[in-house]
Symmetry: D3
Subunit: 133 residues, 6 copies
């Protein structure tokens, strides 16, 4: 029910196939998920998105670890209501070590943030001077 | 420009004042930010929200640390477009040790997540079987 | 800071002026708020929007009363993050009789709904069979 | 397809089972819907959410009635795009007496609010002085 | 799984049937899609929505062409996460001549816009003076 | 009131300054707007975003023209409620030739799309078989 075909390895163009190969190599698995297979209908979009994702998820000295990044990804996906993204990034977070307690904490914060976001917006609370840089 | 008055300590009811006192004690500061001062117009809402927030932000054995929770809070607030919440939780994350590199990582993930959320939704990518629990 | 001029009575076209006159007659006030003055840059949009709003807010036998409609309007505007709409419809709800207790209830429900919306979306809860018509 | 198991009565922990029992007693039905069964994976979240919901939906002297609260809940859920929440709260509103005419009014207001929210945001209409408290 | 019945031609009221007839005449097809069949439960809503849609999609001298309007409709529907709307308006855009290259461009812009929307909101960038009318 | 400093040319790092120079060259103006000046706090983010934006906005044989892309950008920004983005892309669309009539059409479609998005979501209309690829 995607708006574009979910391309098999055989249907992918050489440029798309090269990205699939890189995904497999980076992730050490033969599995290529549907997002990439649909994006492959526009090999340039596929390549640009994958290259940027690799760069963004790369762990830097003094920066965030992989698991924290995945949990932030889940949080954004929930607020944007992206079903596919919630499933894929929750699965990725688990694969990177998210325990049941960590996931419970993530859910609790996500729920709380939605609640206070709603209340603050409803009451139109002005930003305190002290929060302005 | 809030829809309700921003109550001073003097204007707060005894029940609201008790919550202000707990906020000050917990945070070890005399400062009480506008969200609580506006919520104080309904002392029951103020108390319930503060009590729940304390519980949610409490660090548990094997769970997420305070800084990670604040960054998740920021991520949700951005996706929900809550200006006040973005400012207050970004400030809180910095106060809890978020470095420039960590914030750069947070921003990069938030931007990337918005992008792929948009693309996935536009293309209506179906959830892979493997992501289903 | 609108993207179009806020038209004064003098700047409004005859078709727009006629809508302003109807707004004044219906609301029994000389005041015409900014939304209509900006929409007046496209008199056809102004007229269609005003005519539809009148129809939607009209009270029908067995239907919802004006105040309930305004509170629903506020709730949608909060979730959509529309600052102008939150202010104008909260003011309208008050003008139609929303008491402090009613507003406190509205805020509490709005906050709660945002929270459970967030949790349900995060956990991707499937719809119970019993809820399907 | 939830991200966590939908717990049966047998799988629920004693603390979660106690909440299920309270839900059944309050609602005078044996049915416990999926939201609670998924939330039950974190009994503390389940309990806090249920206790707060009970408090928020409780009818207060001079406050909103149950049906109005359910319709506001539906309105927020629509704007947030929460499919489960739309189904469950629309069903709840009907159970509490929402007639076809009331639902037609709710839909009309929800549609209108989305439209003017979109127009106001697109045109960035500044808040009238008179709407500021 | 709609919240209201999907009315067949036989179930539609005379007023709703008249709108169905107009839809068929305007679109030169016998097919009437589900949106109208569900909206038909409130013939007044059905009629008002259809009449306004016809007006909005009408091509005006010096205005936007039909295809551009459909692509803008898709873009809004994606950002609002409306699955039905994404499918129906993407199909409509294709029927009006959207080529694979045009759709690839639409997707790329939609993805980019979501990303910079997210970054700008996260960083709370103030509007440049030069952008204010 | 951004969460990061708005860097002047003097404060920008050499890598950021190089991007500023490319923006000036591409746009044939000395003006560099605040988005880039705030993003410049992370030169890698600045460069990646600018390079991708250039690529996305580049006109391709058989693809969308610049003005259509800007209007789609405005439409997404409205639905996401990004004030800065609405102002900057509306200004950009005007600079690329958007006439008053075109803008009126854009606004009318944006308003209509929000309305039907809201109605469809509220009624949970199932996707017609014919719309599935």
């Amino acid at each position: 029910m995607a708006t574009l075909p979910i391309l098999t390895d055989e249907q992918a163009s050489p440029e798309a196939a090269a990205v699939f190969a890189d995904i497999r190599a980076m992730r050490k698995t033969d599995f290529v998920n549907n997002f990439w297979r649909v994006a492959a209908n526009d090999p340039a979009l596929l390549k640009a998105t994958w290259e940027r994702l690799k760069e963004v998820m790369k762990v830097r000295e003094g920066g965030l670890d992989s698991l924290t990044k995945e949990m932030i990804y889940v949080a954004v996906s929930v607020a944007n209501g992206c079903t596919y993204c919630i499933h894929s990034h929750t699965a990725a977070a688990r694969a990177k070590g998210m325990t049941d307690q960590m996931y419970a904490d993530l859910l609790a914060v996500v729920g709380m943030a939605h609640q206070t976001n709603g209340l603050v917006t409803a009451m139109q609370v002005p930003v305190d001077e002290v929060f302005k840089v």
